[in-house]
Symmetry: D2
């Protein structure tokens, strides 16, 4: 008699294959779900593997377009960067995957969902908060947090043995001495030899971007057109290529960014659970978009709106990193940020070269830039005398402060 049905987020790899079999051993019916979010994977092989291991049903779904439109685009609008450097490529994929996983679970009448995320990481939180938010009654089976499981599988060797015993195909190529997570937006590398924060990443680590030392010696020049703060078209000025659907735009930016080695970072970041961890990321297309969006946004957005929106963007980044995509506050912040993008429209020209993105120029029908007003050669509708009053009024407070300090004998300049 079955304990019930589990929808397992299945990757096709050793870990989740063992989990699949183990869940069956525990008495569950297992439905596997594999999301195509742009990772390099043999999806058909994964389907066959899951079926052969006894999955009751196998779902493999192409989520790439909704990943770009529903998840990556809002991070572009937000200039989302966690702790000043990480572009959230993994964090933003998790709610996309779990949303579908939960839909399948509801549709298939499954009371359980399961995943192979570890017990020290952020992903477990991102997966599960999404599940709880969208399917509050769901029960979650996280084997790597269940003592019977993690005590049984204390290392890769135990998994290999279990696989051999249960007819699970075992990977033949030796594993890299680190773990990685790949999707359309980025590849992340961590663990293993990377856990020592002092040791440098090996040169052959990166899969998505070319080493800038070997990248082309001539730049590509792109024009990216934005509307409502998201790209609607990208044109390669030299080649004349152009793309205008979200998935094509983003994929093309990955190609160009990857070719020129754009978007590599090596950081120590703070996980939600309070540990510091070292991660290496490559985010080629996302990095180009971040730079281009920053440019068109400042060009078209009022400065005080921008200041408030900047704070909301930092908040958004923290929420996404911590797994709160589906939360009332993230809904609220996304709504506010989207509102701020009403006039973020125009074209940005940029060149991509040797790991860098250089903004070259920009234009917009909605810019607040007024060339006549700002010109050093034309007075325009501006009276320089006004600045005297502006400065003197701004100084009222500073002069009072000095007066008081003078009274108490201190001198702020020396502080």
């Amino acid at each position: 008699m079955s304990k019930g049905t589990v929808v397992l987020a299945y990757s096709g790899g050793l870990d989740t294959s063992c989990i699949l079999v183990w869940l069956k051993e525990q008495g569950y019916d297992v439905i596997t779900f594999l999301a195509n979010i742009g990772q390099d994977e043999d999806f058909e092989a994964a389907r066959k593997k899951a079926e052969s291991l006894g999955a009751k049903k196998v779902f493999i779904e192409d989520l790439r377009s909704e990943f770009v439109e529903d998840f990556i685009w809002p991070t572009v609008q937000a200039n989302a960067v966690y702790e000043d450097r990480y572009l959230l490529g993994t964090a933003v994929a998790r709610p996309c995957i779990s949303r579908r996983q939960v839909e399948i679970a509801r549709r298939e009448g499954a009371q359980f969902v399961s995943h192979g995320a570890t017990g020290k990481g952020n992903d477990q939180i991102r997966f599960e908060l999404t599940c709880y938010a969208l399917y509050p009654e769901v029960e979650i089976i996280a084997p790597w947090r269940i003592p019977e499981f993690y005590n049984r599988f204390r290392g890769r060797k135990d998994l290999m043995e279990y696989a051999q015993q249960h007819g699970i195909p075992v990977p033949v190529t030796p594993r890299a001495p680190w773990s990685m997570d790949a999707n359309l937006m980025h590849i992340s590398y961590e663990s293993g030899i990377l856990e020592n924060p002092k040791s440098h990443a090996p040169a052959d680590l990166y899969l998505m971007t070319k080493n800038p030392e070997n990248s082309p010696n001539a730049p590509d020049v792109l024009e990216i057109e934005f509307r409502n703060g998201v790209p609607v078209k990208v044109t390669n000025e030299k080649e004349g290529t152009s793309k205008d659907s979200p998935l094509e735009i983003f994929s093309y930016l990955n190609v160009i960014g990857g070719k020129h080695g754009v978007g590599r970072i090596d950081i120590v970041e703070n996980r939600f659970i309070g540990m510091k961890s070292r991660g290496i990321y490559e985010t080629p297309g996302g990095t180009i978009l971040l730079k281009a969006h920053l440019d068109i946004e400042t060009f078209t957005m009022d400065k005080e709106v921008r200041r408030i929106k900047q704070g909301l963007g930092i908040k958004f980044s923290e929420l996404v990193y911590n797994g709160f995509w589906y939360s009332p506050e993230c809904d609220f912040v996304r709504h506010c940020i989207a509102k701020s993008q009403d006039n973020v429209e125009g074209k940005v020209q940029l060149s991509v070269f040797k790991g860098q993105v250089y903004i070259l120029g920009r234009e917009s029908p909605k810019s607040l830039y007024n060339e006549e007003l700002v010109s050093m050669d034309v007075q325009g509708d501006y009276d320089p005398c006004d600045a005297s009053g502006f400065i003197r009024i701004n100084a009222v407070r500073l002069r009072e402060h000095h007066r008081l300090q003078g009274l108490s004998g201190t001198n702020s300049a020396k502080k």
Copy 2:
């Protein structure tokens, strides 16, 4: 009979030479003050020029060390970046210059100070707020905001004519079709042909950084050591060179950054007076330091302290940009930021190549990074079961929210 004594911030160029003579014409005694903050200038020639034009006294002062220690270092601690991109190279120099200008004015008994900043820019504000803050009774003569002056000198041609009439040496080399401001930290370019935000910067514009297309094909690898959030030593790992005084460290980072074309940006920014303006900046050493400091800071600082400090750093950047270095709030924020740097100590290895800075590794005696705790292979002092409770408690609120939404028939996942 003299109207009084003016201390004029003198650059040696055409504008401030004309202002010097004009001020004398108006009946003032003029003392010139020229600060060496690292710009490329023939200071002795400037001295002679000022004397020949009738300056009562000429002060030329080397402020480079105090510029680095008192002004650049706090921006490094703050990760100061205005509007996500501008490293504040001009903004941070202004209070350094004006502080000395005001000291001279007080010492020389001058009631007036003057400068050649224009009426549409930020610099007038930065100069004058510093003056008012440190010398509240001072009177400021800003010729470019005085109708008699700016109506008389409507263009460069008028200045040239005036110069010829008054024996002011006229520059013989043709002027670049833009204006620039240079100091130890950066060179900025704006105005003229750059005022069109769409037109690309000419390749020969940059003076401080090599074009990455022509920069060396091999990186330099540096190790920067920090204490209290400021660099105390830089070592070139290949060459074995090392520097350990603030001015030498910063200058050396400029050399390396410049050689590899690091720190070029082209942005539209928001001036304090509410205009958008286009600026091009190159900040080689500052860019290297920003990246290195971000790395060592996140490595050593608690994440929640960092979050609060990040907000203070943004505030600090706005204050510095707007000219409020000498204000009670900037004093306060600097104090708080400095406090946050108590444990920001350690070494960062990085490579500099083709316009980019790549962090390679880091180490610190004060890191909060715990390799055993975070390891995927070791459990350490961490019970994965705890994460289940952590996630479920974080989900309490999300599940309640869903319950309410369910009652009202909406579905947050579809939003």
Copy 3:
């Protein structure tokens, strides 16, 4: 020949009557505009006075309903309080008045607007920023900042003399030794004898609220019903009275608040221009609404949304205080705050007594309050074991911090 037409914000008092005549003297055609925003005024007398003094046209307009709905309601949604205490009664009235003034100016083809606000206050800024925002080409005549005017009228005596010379009726009752500003939302008192921050306000100062020492010895109990964060109905539980239009609701709350002496404060505040000033305010209805709205908002709004919204509310308060009601950032913030109020719906019971508002209870169809979940006597859908994991994960970071501090020999508990 006329210099053009001015729309003058006219109060009927001595100052603006003198300004009316003075503007005519200067060669302007003058249209007067007097807004009824709930102040106690003989509007017909003011009309006759303006006509007799030569106003070309006289507009007297009842803005009370739009004042409540377009201006006061958003401040209720925002819990708008400046510097933790001031409910913005004057600040919020200014854009309401100026919006109409500018509409009249456009309609009447007037190039000028004028007002009687002084040169040290906030109101000049609030009036003028509204005018510039909504009618950018307008020219503003602010007599109290024009040397010919303020040097001529150095004190009340000069105005009285001028009035007598020009047939302007002179007030017969002696003026209070302070100035006041009244509207539907509040009365403010400042200047004169109140300028000494140490001297206590005289007991007979307050016009809108009863002295709590003499107020009724029994409370009134009200129920206020909210939808979208604004009141839609108020019911006096004892008397059975109820009101349900915005203007009636707000006026009734003023009556009840006034009767019980609610909403008196005596503060020193920071003006936009950088001065500290002492103000005394009475805001009876607004104070009741603030308390009631805080209650229903926390009852119905997610806590993290509330936290973000709290920051936006503080920002909103600063913007309104400083005169930026009509600015892109205030538009943006109002939009975000309004969005946050989608579920702020329900009823609050409260009692009003002796200067205080006591919340008694609340109910809502949209509350996130779950009595079963929170109950100490019922477990509900909550596993207390989860809290252990939650706490331990929250402690990971604190324990690491302590470990580091232990290494360096300090002890955080002693700090």
Copy 4:
């Protein structure tokens, strides 16, 4: 053989008496610790009770002075208010108690600490985060989260039975139909009949404050003197009484506030664990101090410093509420807030009457208030013309925004 030694936070009540005996049953040696933080308690009776129930050692310690100086004073400096209303009387007491509990545990060589806080509340978190922060290796026994315990004691009846079986004295007076927590700063009431958010609190609930309906018909007038943002003296102007030690000052303010019914609130708040709960609080002395401190702070602190500090104060309140008093971020924030109080010095006069605190006046040797500068009757060192430039520069951005909106045909005034 003992499992080890537990230091139990003991209240003398039924719950912790049962826990004491239960812990012994489980094989622990139990040391009880009872902190005197100002609650109304028969400490000697509690000592005897603990001894009679088999406590190995009994510690009863008077922490009232350190509670005021180390914990309440920083909340006064911060104007700490959680969610705009709750003055944190319970939250601030928890780290004070646990700090000592942990000191005792270390000194006595106890590996365990225990408490009687429930599994749904905030206090468990506040206690335990303090313990983990100050004694990272400690193990915590929280019986109300241990299934064997909470399943055995499902209600008060089970505790009573257990008590009778084990010779634990059973309370003879019937329990109030709510729970309360009392200390020097406040009494809180929650649970039981208060769990229905709609039902009004019974009139006889409050123990610390008089019902304003029965409070004196004449106010008390106090002068509170501050230095560094904390009170150093309070004087009753009528009676001439004055207090000048922290504990005496705070106790006296409780007496006066209690006599006049000051500081009662009824709120629904958001617990850290994501539930909303209803609480009723009375904080007489704290409420008076909050109002007085707000007054003297705004009087003496620069407005922009205040704005930044206000944000830090809100952050501080959240941290304290959530139990993070001993965290790096709370250390940091406390340090910054304390720094901001350097000049917060002076005297505030206020009257206390019928539940309200009315500020009457203030004076300070360090005020930034400049009576001459702000006066309507004196020009002082202020040129009103400056305000024109100030306003026009502030309008530059607004006018540009309007220009753009005009182009796109929208009208911000109508939004």
